[in-house]
């Protein structure tokens, strides 16, 4: 699929002015940044490859749709005390009661899973600890994307369908 085709679909049929001078052009895998928002372009500079970002995006969307909860993944440094700063991040989410935040700090080598009051009824702390264990195991092996995917998958399956 080319950038022009993607933009045609996103804009709903009407062909917009594209970044291309002619039909065709670079494919989405060659120049993924052409169809992205600013934050999307910023994410390309992160620790993930384009393929891993796509899989993460898919996993988040599937988890949200299946459970009706809002899953969110933060990867970056957490201020001390880390638990409190992860909970502060969680409160920023709209509908925090139904939100699940996976906060991962590779620099400090720690992770926090925060479940809102409503989400906690569906994902017990023990289930969250299980997911945290498997994520930590993947991270210890250097697999950042795989750990996040495994954690999302476990949490979503513990939460069940809505």
């Amino acid at each position: 699929m080319t950038v022009g085709e993607h933009q045609a679909i996103v804009s709903g049929g009407e062909q917009p002015l594209t970044a291309l001078d002619h039909a065709g052009g670079p494919t989405l895998t060659e120049r993924p940044e052409l169809t992205m928002s600013d934050s999307g372009v910023a994410a390309l500079d992160g620790p993930f490859t384009t393929r891993q970002l796509l899989r993460l995006d898919e996993a988040l969307r599937v988890a949200d749709q299946q459970t009706g909860l809002t899953f969110s993944v933060y990867i970056g440094p957490l201020d001390e005390p880390t638990r409190e700063s992860a909970e502060a991040l969680h409160r920023q989410l709209e509908g925090a009661a139904k939100a699940v935040l996976l906060a991962i700090s590779p620099g400090q080598r720690l992770l926090e899973i925060v479940t809102g009051a409503e989400a906690r009824k569906r994902i017990s702390d023990r289930d969250a600890k299980l997911a945290a264990l498997s994520m930590a195991a993947a991270f210890a092996g250097g697999d950042l994307a795989g750990g996040v995917l495994a954690g999302l998958d476990q949490l979503a399956s513990h939460a069940g369908r809505h």
Binding site: T115, K129, G141
Partner: protein, 101 residues
């Protein structure tokens, strides 16, 4: 075989093959990009990233296409949140887990 052709076959040709491969390795590389992979114990110096399935639907603070682009993410702080009546209320109990590796 003369000395000239012996040297040509056994020295010059293998050496030129080695040089070609070495040159390709030196030119190839990672097109100037730093190593993206995270390795435990090595410094991790990427910018923080925060993923949501559909940020614009979840919170206007993330400024999706449909929402007000001028919205700013709320500042980090405060263990208390403001209730609808303007009073400060403790947030509901949150659960979860922590781990280290």
């Amino acid at each position: 075989m003369s000395i000239f052709s012996t040297i040509l076959v056994y020295a010059v040709i293998p050496l030129s093959v080695i040089l070609v491969v070495a040159a390709l390795v030196a030119v190839g590389g990672r097109d100037g990009r730093p190593d993206r992979r995270y390795r435990p114990g090595r410094p991790y110096d990427f910018k923080p990233i925060w993923f949501l399935a559909s940020p614009a639907q979840v919170s206007p603070a993330f400024g999706g296409k449909t929402s007000d682009r001028t919205a700013q993410p709320p500042a980090l702080e405060s263990g208390v949140v403001e209730g609808s009546a303007g009073r400060q209320v403790r947030p509901g109990p949150v659960g979860g887990a922590s781990d280290r590796w």
